[in-house]
């Protein structure tokens, strides 16, 4: 198992692409790598700090059938998350289960998730967006939960995130992203960058499947062990395999 240590969120150097870079790094990191937790903590803090419409942020992970919040920007976000875990129902659970973003444009009009609605509304939250985050395996490793006070300001962010996951062409995505705050533009760039990392890793898995006659699960395990034996980066190993096969 790789035991690379990541610097804590607070000591990361500030930059104009730090959120983007962190999401891309997460997508190239194996799901069981201890570095994932530190990367998720960084994503949460940066999301709360850089996304203008977002009041609080948190990250939910699933272990077997249990959900838990592994990072949060505020205890208020934790309270909203825990209301969902108590009911075993809510947007962040749907996001992890389905692998697609879940937008709640108006929390007060939600009757599907009463525990979530009542807790969030009591805390002054009016709109939310849960975004699946990719780690190395290519499946949602966590749900990034973004909570806002104002539906009007959350709506453009949600629309852009949904379009990004919908594999929207540049012509449709660009106008949605153009007017977002710089932090939100970083988020979208990070999600798209993570998709590109996922694609490279899956292509490498395909090559291993073909060369070894194995299945996707074992091919990922081989890729994972190769990464552990070298730099620890799945992306680097995958990129080498993909490039090497074309040489």
């Amino acid at each position: 198992m790789v035991t690379r240590s990541e610097p804590p969120a607070q000591s990361r150097p500030p930059g104009d692409s730090v959120l983007t870079d962190t999401l891309i790094e997460l997508a190239g990191t194996a799901d069981d790598d201890p570095a994932v937790v530190a990367l998720l903590a960084t994503v949460v803090q940066l999301s709360a700090d850089l996304l203008d419409p977002v009041a609080f942020a948190s990250v939910t992970r699933q272990h077997e059938s249990r959900y838990s919040t592994v990072a949060m920007s505020s205890a208020l976000a934790l309270a909203v998350d825990e209301a969902q875990y108590a009911d075993n129902a809510g947007p962040c659970l749907d996001t992890l289960d389905g692998g697609a973003p879940t937008s709640v444009p108006r929390i007060d009009a939600t009757i599907s998730w009463p525990g979530f609605r009542d807790t969030a509304y009591t805390l002054g939250l009016r709109s939310s967006l849960s975004v699946p985050l990719l780690a190395g395996r290519g499946e949602p490793a966590a749900s990034l939960n973004l909570y806002g006070h104002h539906p009007d300001t959350m709506a453009p962010l949600s629309a852009a995130v949904l379009a990004a996951y919908d594999d929207a062409p540049e012509a449709r995505l660009s106008p949605l992203v153009r007017d977002l705050c710089p932090g939100a533009r970083q988020l979208i760039a990070g999600l798209l960058g993570a998709f590109a990392v996922r694609d490279t890793i899956q292509q490498a898995i395909g090559m291993i499947i073909a060369s070894r006659g194995t299945n996707a699960y074992l091919a990922y395990a081989l890729l994972r062990s190769q990464a552990a034996a070298t730099t620890g980066s799945l992306l680097e190993v995958a990129t080498t395999i993909v490039a090497g096969d074309r040489r």
Binding site: G98, A100, S112, G206, T214
Partner: protein, 237 residues
């Protein structure tokens, strides 16, 4: 008059318990119409009018009388349901026998045995308006308290309906996105298999995959999954 009356508090609670995951918009509308009929005193039959893109239709009704009286209005383009939906207001007709506001309709309603009507406008979404329509068989069937109750009921119903409308749209998008995400990994793996065997780029591999899909008239995801399964089995031979 119906005997299965419901206490308003119980009706509002039931509106709040409607499961959107198990009901589409029409399922929610059916529940709203049924609860309204059982809750508002004086109601013989109830219906819900939806107006989309200028076209009105009855999306839910508790009996054929309500449907017939609604549809007459849509054909003629006039009547209390349409007025309530268009103006987002409450239109009460306590004495249809003497009401001259909608020529032809009141006479038809009276001939069918309806003496009073009450329509409350609903805002369901940006593109969708509607009205909750209540029909009574007595003159002045809907007193002041009944009107207030119907308006309160309509307020609850509008939230449930707008949420169902939103939920339907969001759920469709979520299913679409989930399917796209699930397909993506296997498509990339298939591209990798093609890249390895043909020594080509990812874009070229995708073009080959797309061509196979089109030639065989199979979905891209299915072609990719078959390719991955076939390559995986190759090692066992």
């Amino acid at each position: 008059m119906s005997q299965d009356r419901l206490d308003p508090v119980a009706a509002f609670a039931e509106l709040g318990r409607i499961s959107l995951a198990e009901n589409d918009l029409h399922g929610v509308l059916d529940r709203v119409a049924d609860l309204a009929r059982r809750t508002v005193p004086g109601t013989e039959e109830a219906s819900v009018t939806l107006v989309r893109m200028g076209t009105a239709k009855t999306a839910a009704y508790t009996g054929p009388l309500a449907l017939a009286l609604d549809e007459w209005q849509y054909r003629r383009g006039t009547g209390p349901c349409l007025a309530a939906a268009a103006e987002q207001t409450t239109v009460s007709a306590p004495d249809l026998a003497g009401d001259r506001r909608w020529p032809g309709w009141a006479e038809r309603a009276v001939a069918a045995g309806v003496r009073s009507s009450l329509s409350v406008g609903l805002i369901i979404g940006e593109q969708v308006h509607g009205a909750l329509n209540l029909y009574g068989v007595r003159d002045a069937a809907f007193d002041h308290d009944a009107v207030v109750l119907a308006e309160t009921f309509a307020g609850f119903a509008a939230v449930a309906l707008s949420n169902a409308n939103l939920y339907g749209t969001t759920a469709r998008l979520a299913r679409q996105l989930e399917a796209a995400m699930a397909s993506r990994a296997v498509i990339e793996q298939a591209k990798g298999i093609i890249m390895g065997s043909r020594r080509c780029t990812a874009d070229e591999a995708f073009a080959i995959l797309t061509a196979i899909s089109q030639d065989s008239n199979r979905k891209l995801r299915d072609v990719a999954a078959a390719l991955v399964a076939e390559a995986g089995n190759g090692g066992d031979r």
